[in-house]
């Protein structure tokens, strides 16, 4: 079975996000990037499924300037082929990404396309269903427990709902699935191996048009007042613990007989 995984980088949330003077964009020049968490799960699922069902795993990323390391990491983890798609000065929105990936997928054979169910920056919807609509393929979002059917023409997957309830679906291939999590934590790729592959591996390029995007107009960005709500407790761990214990005692939330 031919598995294709679509990946992207997103700003590392461990760092502070700043809004630029236009008020509609992040300041991007100082940001560091990480692979979108859910895309990592999608890749791990693809590798696991390939190891069970046979076939190949091909990874695609839009070329937003620095995706070689991302794609080399895919190879280091066990992907068979990697491609960068198009050429983008800034990260395209979900719809523009779908347009570019759809063009690339016309030349990359695929039975099952796996994407992360969401990314932290997808304002205009999630890639999976938008891409599937462009390609005319069926799709299911928020899936876990993907299993290939015996005859290679279907997969089953679970869609998660609130409260731990899941629906099991059978899906005709080719199809697109938005992966919520992988059966095992994404495998580790040694940095030395990634570095080596960045020098030696072939990262092929595919055309991907710069589409018009999703038609969402950003009027303004803002940083929510996170501290505005909570009363912050200062001091070291002991002082914090003492204050929390006092707050709980005031509200009658400590067990009878407990010290405050």
């Amino acid at each position: 079975m031919e598995f294709v995984v679509l990946l992207k980088q997103v700003p590392d949330l461990a760092e502070e996000l700043e809004i630029d003077r236009s008020g509609t964009e992040l300041v991007r020049e100082w940001l560091s990037y990480v692979t979108s968490e859910w895309d990592e799960y999608a890749l791990e699922e693809a590798l696991q499924l390939r190891d069970l069902a046979g076939g190949t795993v091909t990874c695609l990323a839009l070329d937003t300037g620095a995706v070689d390391e991302l794609l080399a990491t895919c190879l280091a983890r066990g992907a068979d082929r990697v491609f960068k798609v198009g050429s983008f000065e800034r990260p395209p929105d979900t719809h523009a990404s779908a347009t570019a990936f759809a063009a690339a997928l016309r030349t990359v054979s695929h039975d099952l396309v796996l994407v992360g169910v969401q990314a932290i920056d997808d304002l205009d919807g999630q890639l999976g269903p938008v891409l599937a609509a462009e390609l005319g393929l069926p799709h299911v979002s928020v899936v876990t427990h993907i299993a290939a059917g015996a005859d290679g023409t279907t997969v089953t997957a679970n869609q998660e709902y609130a409260g731990g309830l899941v629906a099991e679906f059978e899906v005709d291939l080719p199809a697109v699935l938005g992966v919520q999590t992988s059966r095992e934590a994404p495998r580790y790729a040694p940095v030395s191996r990634v570095r080596q592959l960045m020098k030696t591996a072939t990262i092929e390029a595919l055309d991907g048009p710069v589409g018009p995007g999703g038609g969402l107009i950003v009027e303004s960005l803002s940083v929510p007042e996170t501290g505005g709500h909570a009363e912050m407790i200062d001091g070291d761990a002991a002082a914090i613990a003492t204050r929390i214990a006092a707050i709980l005692a005031e509200r009658g939330l400590v067990k009878t007989g407990a010290a405050s």
């Binding site: 979002s141 969402l216 107009i217 009363e231 067990k255």
Partner: protein, 318 residues
């Protein structure tokens, strides 16, 4: 183009979901401001009992045995012609798996813009203005639609469900199923195994996230929960790692809880988590990241390592 608002009814196992009432209520307010009508879109094998649950609403119903439970392909095929023909100003869905599939699929198929993770929808000069969560709640974006029409997926809890629960008789317009797409077939619902505790009924939850670092440290949190007479719950990564059972998971794909006390320990507060616990009576959060969104919903917060604070707190309660 109209000033009407269509609302996708999400139902499962014969019951309309809570989130559906949240967006229905907001749809009625917005439609009345815009001079249009709010109409529920109901796809089902038998619309009658679900329409009765909805109450006093105008409903477009598509009935077909294949629509007994949700299927992304069946819903998209059925809805695309109706949404195209009715030209609503807005189509609202919840930001659930169902909403993601339908909204993204329709946006891609019929070209209506889509705003995801919406927390607020207002009208500015008669056109929708939507606030969306982005970057795991660290950034808010205010967006408009090209041509002032579009689709929104609305996060749970953005609006009260009460406004959508309107007693009365539904007015149902049944329309024939316009198209069939059976490439995604519903096979069944799998219910979670009952856990040893029901975290939705507990009054004190000591909830733990990635900040716990490693599995062995869960014990520290268990000790604190015991000292408080509560139980341990978690954010998604802890359940994914198998460090706590799935039945302890709070949030969008876990359980929605409303305890008297929610201690959020090492939980950053991604929107999916906040959805499950923001209604707790008292929220106390400890996290090393001063910008963690959890502090936006907590009543009290402390920037510290939980591995230092938790043992100290247990000692004071012990």
């Amino acid at each position: 183009m109209s000033s009407d608002i269509l609302v996708l009814v999400e139902h499962r196992d014969g019951t309309v979901t809570e989130g559906t009432f949240e967006i229905l209520g907001r749809a009625r307010e917005l439609a009345s401001q815009a001079g249009g009508e709010a109409t529920a879109l109901l796809l089902a094998a038998d619309a009658g009992p679900l329409a009765d649950q909805l109450g006093d609403w105008s409903i477009i119903a598509i009935e077909d045995p294949g629509l007994a439970e949700f299927s992304p392909s069946a819903y998209q095929a059925a809805l695309a012609p109706i949404v195209t023909e009715r030209e609503p100003m807005l189509l609202l869905a919840t930001n659930s798996g169902v909403g993601m599939d339908v909204a993204g699929g329709l946006s891609g198929a019929i070209g209506l813009p889509l705003a995801a993770f919406a927390t607020s929808i207002t009208l500015a000069d008669g056109a929708p203005l939507v606030t969306c969560q982005s970057f795991a709640g660290k950034i808010e974006a205010r967006v408009r639609f090209r041509d002032d029409r579009g689709i929104c997926t609305v996060v749970a809890g953005a609006y009260p469900a009460g406004a959508g629960r309107v007693a009365g008789s539904p007015r149902v317009e049944r329309v024939p199923l316009p198209a069939v797409d059976q490439r995604v077939r519903f096979r069944g619902l799998v219910r979670p195994e009952a856990g040893d505790v029901d975290i939705t009924r507990e009054t004190v939850l000591v909830s733990v996230g990635r900040g716990i670092g490693e599995q062995d440290n869960i014990e520290l949190v268990e000790e604190l929960a015991a000292a408080l007479g509560g139980v341990v719950s978690s954010s998604r990564p802890i359940a994914d790692a198998g460090w706590l059972p799935r039945t302890r998971q709070v949030g969008k794909s876990g359980l929605r809880v409303k305890p008297k006390l929610y201690l959020a320990l090492g939980i950053s507060g991604a929107p999916e988590h906040l959805e499950g616990m923001r209604d707790a009576e008292l929220i106390v959060a400890v996290n090393t990241d001063p910008r963690a969104p959890i502090f936006g919903v907590a009543h009290y917060g402390a920037v510290a390592d939980i591995l230092d604070v938790v043992p100290a707190l247990t000692k004071r309660l012990g």
